[in-house]
């Protein structure tokens, strides 16, 4: 206590108390705050054959998790029909397997709150189940773009494998398919396509950005190449559709051909993997706002602290 008594009238004592209090509440909050729900168990192996889909399982899962908002018939439920239940969802006619795979594999569906934009979450279903639901929706409600199986999809997860060796083998397979896929594209074409079509929402770094009406463009760096491809095919949320040029659906076709999409995805993946040459702290690639913030909080503050230090004199005792 003597130690405190001697220092409690120190000019910095007030600041110290505030900092300790802030730290106390900050750390305390992390214990009290509800933890995010853990990821659902994944029961899938790496890649399954789309030919082996189980439509009955797909129907069961659809009725379990999707039908409450999208309707048993997949025609959707409007907000007025849903009423107070709040469970409404769009018509699934003709959305196709790619849309289902995108929404479910990124964890956006099933969604707890249809009124808000869905954030990326750990997927609720494994690869086999997703394939089953996708096949069911595609078959039942009118076909749309299929899952682009030649584009590298989910990265293998350790939990899905019995042995370390199997996991390593799958990872190797995934890496080689990713390298093969991104090795083929053309950087310049990809960059031009990205800067013309994607960057004004997803930002130059792929980190995402704010959109109008409270929506936002998500971070691309957590998406797999296949999910990026599917998003272009199906245009989820506020995103426009960029069909493959050989698509018959929609008639117009040819917005971005599949080889151009490959270049585009190569650009995104390469940029993400590019090290921050400028230093250990990449500032999360936020750019000038973060730089200005650091310039003031670290740069100028340190220099001013030094100015205070070198001009300090002994304090008068009052």
């Amino acid at each position: 206590m003597k130690w405190i008594t001697a220092r409690r009238r120190h000019p910095l004592a007030g600041y110290v108390v505030v900092i300790i209090a802030l730290a106390f509440f900050g750390v305390g909050y992390t214990f009290v705050a509800p933890a995010t729900s853990p990821a659902q168990a994944q029961n899938a192996s790496a890649e399954s054959d789309l030919a082996n889909v189980d439509l009955a399982n797909g129907r069961e899962l659809f009725n379990q998790s999707c039908a409450s908002c999208h309707g048993q018939d997949g025609k959707g439920i409007t907000k007025t029909e849903a009423g107070n239940a709040g469970a409404w969802g769009p018509d699934l006619t003709g959305v196709g397997a790619a849309a289902v795979d995108f929404q479910v594999s990124t964890g956006r569906m099933p969604s707890a709150n249809p009124d808000a934009q869905m954030p990326r979450k750990p997927a609720m279903y494994g690869r086999d189940d997703i394939n089953d639901i996708a096949a069911y929706v595609d078959a039942q409600f009118g076909g749309g773009p299929g899952i682009p199986v030649n584009v590298p999809g989910d990265k293998p997860k350790r939990a899905d494998f019995e042995s370390e060796a199997d996991y390593e083998e799958a990872t190797e397979l995934y890496q080689s398919s990713l390298e093969q896929y991104t090795g083929g594209g053309d950087t310049e074409a990809g960059m031009k396509l990205y800067m013309t079509n994607c960057a004004h929402c997803h930002s130059w770094s792929g980190g995402g950005g704010a959109l109008t009406d409270g929506r936002w463009a998500p971070d691309l760096n957590s998406a797999t190449p296949r999910q990026i491809y599917e998003a272009m095919l199906t245009g989820p949320g506020a995103m426009p559709v960029f069909q493959d040029s050989n698509d018959e659906v929609g008639g117009e076709g040819g917005a971005i051909s599949s080889s151009e999409k490959q270049s585009l995805i190569k650009f995104i993946v390469d940029l993400e993997n590019e090290p921050n040459a400028g230093g250990y702290f990449g500032l999360n690639r936020v750019g000038q706002v973060a730089e200005g913030f650091i310039g003031w909080t670290v740069g100028i503050s340190l220099i001013v602290a030094c100015a205070i230090w070198i001009t300090a004199k002994q304090r008068a005792h009052d």
Partner: protein, 575 residues
């Protein structure tokens, strides 16, 4: 300290010294200037940060010019940065990549140049705020204030041009906005844009043109202005805070040589260390990640450097409600007012303030003692309002990042800022002024009654009181220095016969009288306050007299401290 007692210099040095002195008579000038005294306070070092970062900018900039190729000629990249190999780009961008990846130390130098630029403008801002809040812009220093405003303005322009040179993605986007504001000018907009860009945007000439402005014209003007700033400072002497022995005519501080020179030299190296430290560890403007600019490129999440942020913000939040069309020609007020008007308000307001304040207060006396900000509550409040206005515009410039990071709707941020820039400055003014007045009351209390010692004593009657002790003479000096702020408008409102003078009857005269009243009305009067005359000191009772309101706390009278033995007095005589 007489020269006679100093040990003799070695003969060889004496020979050289005498040779030079015989020709240039440096000894006398040197003695006078080396002994010049500088007041000692951390806030007087802020301008030096700007000087040092400017020197770092010059040196690192020269290094970069050795490799940078300011050309918009189109080439296909074939350097050592693999990801962009085979990509078409301008020679300016390719040479910046070359500096980054192929020149030894090039990336570090680029980052030093960029960090130093951010620090340079930031230090100009805090230096200017110090001068503003202490009233150091008052007579006789108005000209130096104007030079400072010019340096600040030019530094921002210089930064914008430098940002545009590498021809990477943010460069081109910044230039596009610059061109947009240019186009918004009525009548001459299109011509000005075509003239500057040599045709349609982006053309092939803008980078060479900005380059010669950036490395030659503007730095030369800046250097000249900084030299003038220093010479005037040297001639007029630095302002100082009130304290023992410090008067309008006498400066107390550290002599130039050796003490201040060592301090300043050390401070240079510290500034340099912070800038290099940032440059070594924190990535800035990663042009290789941004990629080259093409006229079709547009991206979210890119901002100008921080000092352009307030303009970016004003463009972002200004509505298009006032756009008009005259005879088929659009006048885009939504670009003109925020793009040029807000800049005019900032720089025009800064330049005009010393003269406006002198006009309001009628104060024509020279001031070499700095105001303590609390003793000029209206000015301090206005400064806080200005900071709030600027700060909100600055934040609005990053509204997309704020919206994305803190998950607030973008439209909501726009409305927060639109309302905030009107409400925020008013609140800041009121709060700051109240705080200043509270501190004045506390000062008067301390002056009259001494300081709270923290010792509790029991009186014979059983009452407990806190013993107040006498403040140090230095503190008393500081507190007593507050001048009573009465308006000093020299034209009397009425002459001896009760007839209003023409000057005060006019519209301007009435306005001025009102402003003067507003400027001084609420100030706490120290008239008639005798140090340590309050009776707390003598019998330590709190019953009754004396203002007991005001901020209570353990903060000591800051700025007040005893002169330590390294402080030399004298030397500064003001003519």
């Amino acid at each position: 300290m007489s020269d006679n007692q100093a040990p003799q210099a070695p003969k060889a040095m004496r020979g050289v010294g005498n040779f030079i002195d015989d020709r240039f008579h440096l000894a006398k000038m040197g003695e006078k200037n080396l002994r010049k005294v500088f007041p000692n306070h951390w806030s007087f070092m802020l301008g030096e940060i700007a000087l040092y970062s400017f020197i770092i900018l010059l040196l690192s900039g020269v290094f970069l010019t050795l490799w940078f190729n300011p050309s918009m000629g189109h080439i296909v990249y074939d350097g050592s940065y693999e990801r962009l190999r085979g990509v078409g780009m301008s020679e300016a961008y390719a040479s910046t990549l070359h500096i980054t990846f192929d020149v030894r130390g090039g990336l570090l130098m680029r980052q030093i140049h960029h960090w130093a630029a951010l620090i340079f403008v930031a230090s100009l801002v805090i230096h200017m705020l110090r001068v503003f809040f202490t009233g150091a812009f008052r007579k006789p220093r108005e000209i130096n204030w104007l030079i400072g405003v010019a340096i600040f303005t030019l530094a921002i322009v210089e930064g914008l041009f430098g940002y545009s040179l590498p021809d990477d993605l943010p460069s081109g986007m910044g230039l596009r906005i610059f061109q947009g504001v240019l186009l918004a000018l009525p009548l001459i907009g299109t011509y000005a844009s075509f003239y500057l860009f040599g045709g349609e945007f982006p053309g092939e000439v803008i980078i060479p043109r900005l380059y010669s402005l950036h490395i030659l014209v503007i730095p030369a003007i800046l250097l000249a202005l900084i030299a003038a700033h220093f010479m005037i400072l040297w001639h007029q002497k630095h302002t100082q805070y009130p304290g023992t022995g410090r008067t309008e005519k006498k400066v107390v501080g550290t002599p130039m040589f050796p003490a201040f020179a060592i301090k300043a030299g050390g401070f240079f190296f510290f500034t340099f260390a912070v800038i290099v430290g940032l440059s070594a560890f924190v990535q800035i403007n990663p042009i290789h990640l941004f990629g080259p600019f093409t006229p079709t490129s547009i991206t979210a999440g890119l901002q100008p450097d921080w000092y352009m942020g307030f303009l970016e913000g004003s463009l972002r939040i200004f509505p298009n409600w006032f756009d008009i069309t005259i005879a088929g020609y659009a006048i885009p007020m939504g670009v003109l007012i925020p793009g040029l008007g807000f800049m005019g308000i900032l720089f025009g307001g800064l330049a005009a303030w010393p003269f406006v304040e002198a006009w309001i207060t009628g104060d024509k006396r020279p001031h070499n003692l700095a105001d303590r900000p609390r003793n000029a509550p209206v000015r301090t409040g206005l400064g806080a309002a200005g900071i709030t206005f600027y700060g909100l515009l600055w934040l609005a410039g990053s509204n997309d990042i704020l919206s994305h990071t803190f998950e607030i709707s973008l439209y909501t941020t726009t409305w927060i800022f639109r309302i905030g820039i009107f409400v925020g400055p008013v609140i800041a003014y009121i709060i700051t002024k109240r705080i200043c007045l509270g501190m004045q009351r506390r000062d008067r209390e301390t002056l009259e009654h001494g300081y709270e010692s923290g010792t509790i004593a029991q009186l014979p009657g059983g009452e407990f009181v806190e013993v107040h002790k006498e403040s140090s003479p230095e503190t008393v000096h500081v507190l007593e220095s507050k001048e009573s702020m009465t308006p000093r408008i020299e034209t009397p409102a009425a002459n001896a016969n009760g007839v209003e003078s023409p000057a005060s009857r006019s519209l301007m005269g009435k306005l001025r009288a009102r402003l003067a009243d507003w400027y001084t009305r609420d100030n706490i009067s120290f008239v008639g306050v005798e140090p340590h005359s309050g009776h707390h000191l003598h019998h330590g009772s709190h019953n009754g007299d004396g203002p007991t309101h005001g901020v209570q706390g353990s903060e000591n009278g800051h700025g007040g401290s005893t002169a330590s033995d390294k402080v030399t007095q004298g030397a500064g005589q003001n003519k």
